[in-house]
């Protein structure tokens, strides 16, 4: 037995040693397999995996360019970029938005309007773009959010440059505003260049000079971790900031015009007749463009839309009004230049006019008539009968062909969008538009600026400027220059070249101008109230446009109705009369008579422009 035990034992030991050797061989085989695998991954596949690892970690992050500032002609800031902390949420990373908002509201002030605007923004947003719940967080709020950030995935506090309009409503209709890039905008822009941009010009100068203001996007290559968070910057191509632009607007003059308008709805446009620079562009009621930058809440928007003064409506460009008597100087000029009338030709005005074979009386505004009236008197006292006759003598088509040179009935080509073209009727126009023949009676009322004729306040200013400037037409524009670099300034280049209306006789022009000077400075002038001892003469013309019907969309309001039925008050003017540097058009909706309501506004603006101060009372 012991022998057997020993034998067994030796056998067992041998067996075990054999098995150990097998195990060792197996282990070495497995190690070889592992090493082979490593050779496969690290030597053969190295390049492939290196590339993958590089792609993993390196991301391209676009850098937004800083939007150019907008200044007025005297360097006053109209649009700038302000650093601001905002609370942004990427909706795709949030499970329960309402709960999140409730929780955030415990940390920072969140009003119902904020929530409303935020939800509105979510609807219009590109996917995976942050939407902003709160703007202009204060330091306490930023700190509170920083401490609690871990609780809210998808919530970020971002320091961004936010567009700000320091003049608020003052030049809103000229400057316009920027807003969040919408899906619709995406179709119209170079998406790569806007990769980091959140806002785009939506209206006014901000829209029309978007390309200049925006700049060029920059990029940085950054190392990101597995969660997409930036770890460090590898290299960067700086964005090229947008260019600053200088407008032709004079904000102080704008302010004078705006204040002179008071609570009235209307428009004031002032132009330098020498070069077409727009000095003021006021449309009242107006609105604060800062509301629109980050999306307006529905309630505020509704208020703006439903306000009877229609603040969003740019009356200066889009409002089309019958020119009324402001049309008469042009008709007077046309009559002379086309040989239909001489300045000395005198008619007898008995208060009405009628066509041969018709009993219909075309009335003069002055019931008893103006008596014997020559051209100057007709302009100064705004004699309707004179212009009925003159229009009849001219015929509508000749009138049309002459006046279109001044800019009536067509867009002025101003460098902001949305301009209405107005209407300068002709027989062909009526045939085309209504497919109806032209009636002679329509020629008569065209002569006094009623009927089909429609003009925008801007057009009135441009045509007045052209008349005042001896027929030299300049495209109106708001851009003065673009600051290409710190030192280099690019002046505005008009799309339409300046033109000069061919003059038959200088006297014809002078007669009209003199008539217009008498409107202000003559004893019987319709705007004599704005004449004082100013060291220059103003040429002007009042106008009254009948309100045909209550405007569309206006609410019936008992208190307002009488006012609605009142005529629009118009006034065009230029000064100094011998060498005009300002031409102006004023429209006060439902203001009554031009001489009493519109003319003082123009007087205030002209006095400020030429005297540098408000007029003496």
């Amino acid at each position: 037995m012991p022998q057997l035990d020993l034998k067994d034992h030796i056998r067992e030991t041998h067996l075990f040693t054999n098995r150990t050797i097998v195990a060792l061989v197996g282990i070495i085989l497995v190690i070889l397999i592992i090493i082979t695998r490593m050779v496969y991954l690290q030597v053969i596949g190295h390049e492939h995996y290196s590339a993958l690892s590089q792609n993993n970690r390196v991301g391209i992050v676009p850098l937004p360019p800083i939007r150019g500032q907008i200044h007025d002609r005297n360097g006053i800031l109209l649009a700038q970029n302000q650093p601001s902390f905002s609370l942004e949420i990427v909706a795709e990373q949030v499970k329960n938005m309402d709960l999140l908002i409730t929780q955030l509201a415990e940390l920072v002030e969140v009003s119902d309007r904020d929530i409303d605007r935020f939800k509105e923004q979510l609807h219009q947003q590109r996917r995976f773009q942050p939407a902003t719940l709160r703007f202009r967080l204060n330091e306490t709020e930023v700190a509170r959010l920083a401490v609690n950030r871990h609780r809210f995935p998808g919530v970020e506090v971002q320091a961004r440059l936010v567009r700000h309009y320091p003049q608020a409503a003052l030049a809103a209709h000229a400057i316009g505003y920027v807003g969040r890039i919408s899906e619709k905008d995406m179709g119209e822009i170079d998406v790569a260049n806007y990769a980091a941009t959140t806002h785009i010009g939506k209206q006014g100068i901000e829209k029309s000079y978007e390309k200049v203001l925006h700049g060029t996007v920059g990029y940085q290559r950054v190392e990101t971790n597995a969660f997409g968070r930036m770890v460090r910057v590898l290299d960067r191509i700086e964005p090229i900031p947008g260019k600053n632009i200088v407008l032709t607007l004079d904000v102080e003059l704008q302010r004078v015009a705006r204040e002179a308008m008071g609570e009235e709805a209307g428009a004031v446009v002032a132009i330098n007749p020498k070069n077409g620079e727009v000095l003021t562009l006021v449309s009242t009621g107006d609105f604060d463009p800062n509301l629109f930058i980050n999306g307006i809440d529905r309630k505020s928007y509704k208020e703006l839309q439903e306000s009877p003064s229609r603040p969003l409506f740019n009356r200066a460009l889009q409002g089309q009004y019958p020119p009324g008597s402001t049309f008469k100087p042009f008709v007077a000029l046309a009559g002379q230049e086309l040989g239909a009338v001489d300045a000395n030709h005198t008619i007898f005005c008995r208060g009405w006019y009628s066509l041969k074979g018709s009993s219909h009386r075309y009335r003069d505004w002055k019931k008893d008539g103006h008596g014997p009236t020559d051209l100057k008197k007709a302009v100064t006292e705004s004699c309707d009968v004179y212009f009925y006759e003159l229009a009849q003598a001219l015929g509508v088509d000749r009138l049309h062909d002459y006046l279109i040179q001044f800019g009536f009935g067509k867009s002025t080509g101003i460098d902001i969008a949305g301009e209405a073209s107005g209407i300068l009727p002709s027989t062909r126009w009526k045939r085309k538009t209504y497919n109806k023949p032209w009636y002679l009676g329509e020629t008569l009322i065209t002569g006094i600026g009623q009927g089909f004729t429609l003009t925008t306040p801007l057009q009135l200013a441009v045509t007045t400027a052209t008349l005042a400037n001896g027929g030299q037409y300049h495209q109106p524009h708001l851009l003065k220059q673009i600051a290409d670099t710190q030192t280099k300034l690019l002046p505005f280049v008009p799309e339409h070249p300046s033109t000069t209306i061919k003059k038959v006789n200088e006297r014809h022009w002078k007669a009209v101008i003199d008539g217009m000077i008498n409107v202000v400075h003559g004893d019987r002038g319709t705007a004599r109230r704005i004449a004082h001892d100013q060291p220059y003469q103003i040429g002007g013309k009042t106008g009254t446009a009948q309100v045909a019907s209550i405007k569309q969309g206006a609410k019936y309001n008992e208190e307002m109705t009488p006012k609605h039925l009142r005529d629009h008050a118009l006034f065009v003017a230029f000064a100094p009369a011998d060498n005009p540097t300002i031409a102006i058009a004023v429209i006060v909706e439902n203001g009554g008579h031009g001489g009493s309501v519109a003319a003082p506004v123009a007087g205030a603006v002209i006095d400020h422009y030429l005297l540098g101060a408000a007029p003496a009372p």
């Binding site: 012991p2 098995r19 282990i27």
Partner: protein, 380 residues
């Protein structure tokens, strides 16, 4: 019988008198200890990088290592015959605890693995990593080797009872490791190759049955993802793909310590625990891996040497099995991190951040040291 044994082994003792000088007083195997300490040191260096240079991690790991080495030293001082005597009790206690887990176990990550004894939470399955090979070795050493068919069948039952319980938790990784540890005892005991071949063939046939009836959905998903990680590049496949990118981009020389972009930028999942090998591979490259494998191989060779020097069947089988199981941990971890095996939660021995498995591991090395250093005591 005892006398014969002693006689037979007398020359061994003489040959190792020099070695006894080193180990006198402390029952430690110095070569093994040196290998393990070297590995632990490498582990801390890699962990510093993998944890994003977090000293807090390092301190906790050092405390764990201290505890684990302490356990090892403690176990090394228990003579093997003592261990042999405790084996059935340990195994029995393990089985009871596994049953307890089944009944009252906490829910942890959707699987019941932890047993909360009020003052300490631990995984009974960890105990089984040591208790199963001990039990099988204990049982096989009772009778003559190679074991008879009947003995083998009982041994199989001893293995599959706990393995089944662990797999039910479900913890596929641990159950496979426990199973491996037990099976290596049987293989080392000398059962015939023909028998091994037959069982392997049957196992291959049973695999499809396992797939359809024996696996949880998430386990099947792991296998599927392993077969083609690209099918789910952002879900389960993400781990494997990112890990392979890390290893591959390391190249021959690596990106340098603390410079692995995959590691430092969080692309590697579980980078301080199960996937720490990917961090090592990315930062130290192919040559680093070869050196690391050399250290592991040294420890394994020493373990196999100890097994071969062991004086009885129990210690021999146990030492051999523990050493091979150690290697299996290593191979499975590297295999899964490098995309050769499905993702099963097996840490890289002594390098991965984490406690429980390290203590189990060091208990095993304590047993190896005990086996090696108590040999002469048998003779005196």
């Amino acid at each position: 019988m005892t006398r014969y044994r002693q006689k037979h082994y007398l020359p061994w003792v003489d040959r190792h008198k020099q070695g006894a000088l080193f180990t006198r007083g402390m029952h430690l195997d110095w070569p093994l200890l040196a290998g393990l300490l070297l590995l632990a040191a490498i582990g801390l260096v890699v962990l510093y990088s993998a944890s994003g240079q977090d000293l807090e991690h390092i301190w906790r790991q050092i405390i764990r290592l201290g505890l684990a080495f302490g356990v090892m030293v403690g176990v090394a001082h228990i003579p093997p015959h003592q261990l042999e005597r405790w084996t059935p009790w340990l195994f029995g206690a393990g089985i009871i605890m596994l049953l307890a887990v089944e009944i009252v176990g906490d829910i942890s990550k959707g699987a019941q693995r932890w047993l909360d004894l009020g003052f300490v939470r631990f995984q009974p399955s960890e105990i089984m990593k040591v208790a199963v090979p001990m039990m099988v070795a204990w049982y096989l050493a009772e009778s003559r080797l190679p074991p008879s068919l009947k003995t083998t069948a009982v041994a199989a039952a001893l293995i599959f009872a706990p393995v089944g319980l662990i797999a039910m938790q479900p913890d596929l990784g641990t159950s496979l490791l426990v199973c491996t540890a037990g099976i290596f005892v049987v293989l080392l005991s000398g059962i015939s190759w023909r028998f091994i071949g037959t069982v392997a063939l049957l196992g291959a046939c049973a695999a499809p049955l396992m797939w359809f009836f024996g696996m949880h959905d998430y386990q099947r998903q792991r296998v599927l993802t392993f077969i083609d990680p690209e099918t789910d590049p952002l879900g389960t496949g993400y781990h494997i793909i990112q890990s392979m990118i890390a290893i591959g981009s390391g190249g021959l020389y690596g990106k340098g310590w603390l410079n692995g972009t995959q590691s430092q930028l969080d692309f590697i999942p579980e980078r301080s625990t199960d996937f720490i090998f990917a961090v090592f591979a990315e930062e130290f490259g192919f040559f680093g891996i070869v050196l690391l494998l050399a250290v592991y191989l040294f420890i394994i060779l020493r373990g196999l040497y100890i097994a071969n020097q062991a004086q009885n069947s129990f210690t021999r089988l146990l030492a051999g099995s523990l050493t091979i199981t150690f290697f299996v941990y290593l191979a499975v971890n590297i295999g899964m991190v490098s995309g050769l095996l499905p993702v099963v939660g097996v840490p890289l021995p002594l390098i991965s951040y984490g406690g429980t498995s390290m203590i189990t591991l060091m208990t095993g090395f304590g047993i190896l040291m005990s086996i090696q250093t108590h040999r002469k005591l048998v003779t005196t």
